[in-house]
């Protein structure tokens, strides 16, 4: 029996999978009808009972988030879908929206009904025009079919859904920065509390959920909580998209029950590229502390990865083999955090600049082992000292690489240069040499 469990990806091999006709042919929009026949509170309870947790990184229980929205408060409520996928290594929501945008639209109808929102937004990163087209068409077709707009299914429920393109700022994936951006400001995180459930978009109660979380809801309504709970582990229920990239034979998307291991996923990806061995990998994007060979059997669920010292994050498994210089990899990620720091908090704005300078020197083999301690000292002074988690993310690759590969940093200093040939890491190494 297969270890995989395609649900969201079950029809991606159909040439028209992104159309409303294909989605309906495969059973789509029945769950929305079912949900609209239920009491909104019962929908929230069902999602709570399923055990669905956020698929965007933090793993917060989705139903509980919905339950935080105050009811009968006379205020407008909003649902905002975070489709600003930009965490390095993360590449699940974009193929999902390209091949199956209606699963998100249907999930939005159900979630909005549950939290009594009449306005919903999809904040899509701006650098993916064809994904924008697919989602835009899906929304237009859903309006034409009476699934969005006024009096949906004749149930007296109104919902407007707006697709909003970002413009190239990683920080807008942070939910409060996303809200500022959607309100028409520079995307900078807000101090919490108040949390978005109390004062979110336009200071109104707002749920912000990841694409995959919301897109998973129709299948839960359609198949029931028992079905969902039959997959996954004790506290991490259901299926999810794992994305394998890097030095594996066949990179790609693997939808599986939570708790699968990298060893199992690697086997499905055909193993490491020929003649090479695994050196380090990220379990959930660059902001999650890196793992090595010794973590091949860690269950990839929220608890398993946490217990091993990292975070499940976005399940973006970036795999690097022995040709890769870990200092170069970490420097490049650090340059990313420096570039994407929004500038609001001094420790992050200044600290990421310092980190880049320090790492550039180390990669070039300049400095002494005291500079390695200085690097960790800077990290200590930025992690946990800012409004949002960007600075913590910047610290992760540095701290974890120093833990696993301190001797490799030292080797740069001993040699006075980088001991690696970057060409050997490329896919076309043979063709260039």
């Amino acid at each position: 029996m297969s270890k995989l469990s395609p649900v969201l990806s079950a029809h991606w091999d159909e040439a028209d999978s992104f159309t409303i006709d294909a989605y309906r042919r495969n059973g789509g929009y029945k769950a929305a009808k079912t949900a609209l026949d239920m009491d909104p509170d019962a929908v929230i309870q069902l999602v709570k009972d399923s055990g669905l947790r956020g698929r965007g990184g933090a793993g917060f229980p989705t139903g509980m988030k919905w339950g935080f929205i105050p009811q009968n408060d006379g205020k407008d409520h909003y649902l905002v879908v975070n489709a600003d996928e930009s965490e390095p290594g993360t590449c699940k929501d974009m193929p999902l929206l390209m091949a199956n945008p209606h699963s998100l639209v249907e999930g939005i109808i159900i979630a909005s009904y549950a939290i009594r929102a009449n306005y919903a937004f999809i904040y899509l990163r701006g650098e993916v025009v064809h994904v924008y087209r697919r989602v835009q068409q899906a929304i237009a077709d859903a309006y034409a079919a009476g699934l969005l707009g006024k009096n949906i299914n004749g149930k007296g429920f109104d919902l407007e859904l707006v697709l909003h393109a970002g413009a190239g700022a990683y920080i807008c994936g942070e939910e409060t920065a996303l809200l500022d951006s959607l309100e028409g400001f520079r995307g900078q995180p807000r101090l919490r509390p108040p949390f978005p459930a109390i004062a979110g978009l336009y200071a109104r109660p707002t749920v912000v959920n990841n694409v995959e979380s919301i897109a998973s809801v129709p299948a839960i309504i359609a198949n029931g909580t028992e079905w969902f709970q039959s997959m996954g582990t004790e506290k991490s229920k259901g299926f999810t998209l794992y994305s394998l990239s890097g030095h594996v034979k066949n990179p790609g998307q693997f939808e599986a029950p939570l708790g699968i291991t990298l060893r199992e996923l690697l086997e499905m990806a055909g193993g490491m590229r020929e003649g090479h061995t695994l050196k380090f990998w990220t379990p959930g994007g660059s902001s999650t502390p890196m793992f090595t060979q010794e973590h091949l059997d860690v269950p990839l669920d929220y608890e398993g990865v946490g217990a091993a010292g990292s975070m499940l994050g976005t399940k973006a498994l970036q795999i690097f083999d022995e040709t890769t210089c870990v200092v170069r990899a970490v420097l490049r990620w650090t340059e990313f955090y420096k570039h994407e720091s929004c500038g609001k908090c001094t420790p992050c704005r200044e600290g990421t600049w310092w980190l880049v300078q320090a790492l550039k020197e180390l990669e070039a083999g300049r400095g002494t082992s005291a500079d390695l301690d200085k690097l960790l000292d800077i990290v200590d002074n930025i992690a946990g000292r800012s409004f949002c988690a960007l600075a913590d993310g910047a610290a992760s690759p540095i701290v974890s690489s120093m833990k696993h590969f301190r001797e490799e940093y030292q080797r740069h200093l001993d040699l006075g240069s980088c001991p690696f040939d970057p060409i050997a890491s490329t896919l076309f190494a043979g063709a260039l040499s």
Partner: protein, 208 residues
């Protein structure tokens, strides 16, 4: 450059999508780029007038986001991913070779105005590394040679089609209009998913 009555009507329809009009600032900036190619002082003034903001407020937003350009870019804006994974898999060599080939650096534009170049961060297509984006369309699994061919084609008015996108590559201005929410009707073109996206599904059907 002046905005036509039709342009203004589209801008009004963009504003009408939102419960509060200030939220329209981002699609309006994309729209200004669709008309003028970059964010011009005139575009800033028009948005400020429409949204009842100071021009400084609109400029503050525009300069925060890297997709809004304060100088003209090429008809084909080429972004080479140089975040860790793509860089390691070959993005660094691709950037170096195409930069030398075109004789321009980061944020440079060729003299004929056809091609501009940018070092971009992760574009959410890591299973297709190394990745290059042209006018924010996916060009998957690139090599130094394929990107040289790509930019040569673009300069000759014959760019290749994106790997996962419409049948033919649209211009920077045309795609900026899409990001403002002005449909070009091309959603139906191109594959549902590339092969790596479908790999897990294929294996599960084989019982693996």
């Amino acid at each position: 450059m002046s905005y036509s009555t039709e342009n203004i009507a589209i801008m009004d329809s963009i504003i009408a999508r939102y419960p509060r009009k200030r939220s329209a600032i981002m699609p309006l900036l994309h729209y200004v780029q669709a008309i003028e190619g970059f964010v011009t002082p005139e575009g800033i003034e028009l948005i400020a007038e429409k949204l009842e903001l100071e021009t400084a407020e609109v400029t503050a937003v525009s300069t925060f986001y890297t997709q809004y350009k304060s100088e003209p870019v090429g008809e084909y804006h080429v972004g080479v991913c140089i975040n860790t994974l793509c860089a390691v898999m070959g993005g660094d060599e691709i950037y170096k070779s195409v930069s030398e080939h075109l004789g321009i650096g980061n944020d440079g534009v060729t003299e004929d105005g056809k091609v501009s170049l940018e070092r971009i961060e992760c574009n959410a297509a890591c299973d297709y590394a190394p990745v290059v984006m042209v006018n924010w369309e996916f060009f998957d699994n690139q090599t130094p040679q394929s990107v040289k061919d790509l930019v040569d084609g673009a300069r000759n008015g014959n760019p290749p089609a994106p790997t996962r996108g419409p049948k033919s590559l649209r211009t920077w201005k045309q795609n900026s209009a899409v990001l403002a929410g002005v449909s070009d009707g091309l959603a139906g073109e191109g594959v549902s998913a590339g092969e790596p996206s479908k790999l897990g599904l294929k294996l599960s059907k084989e019982g693996k």
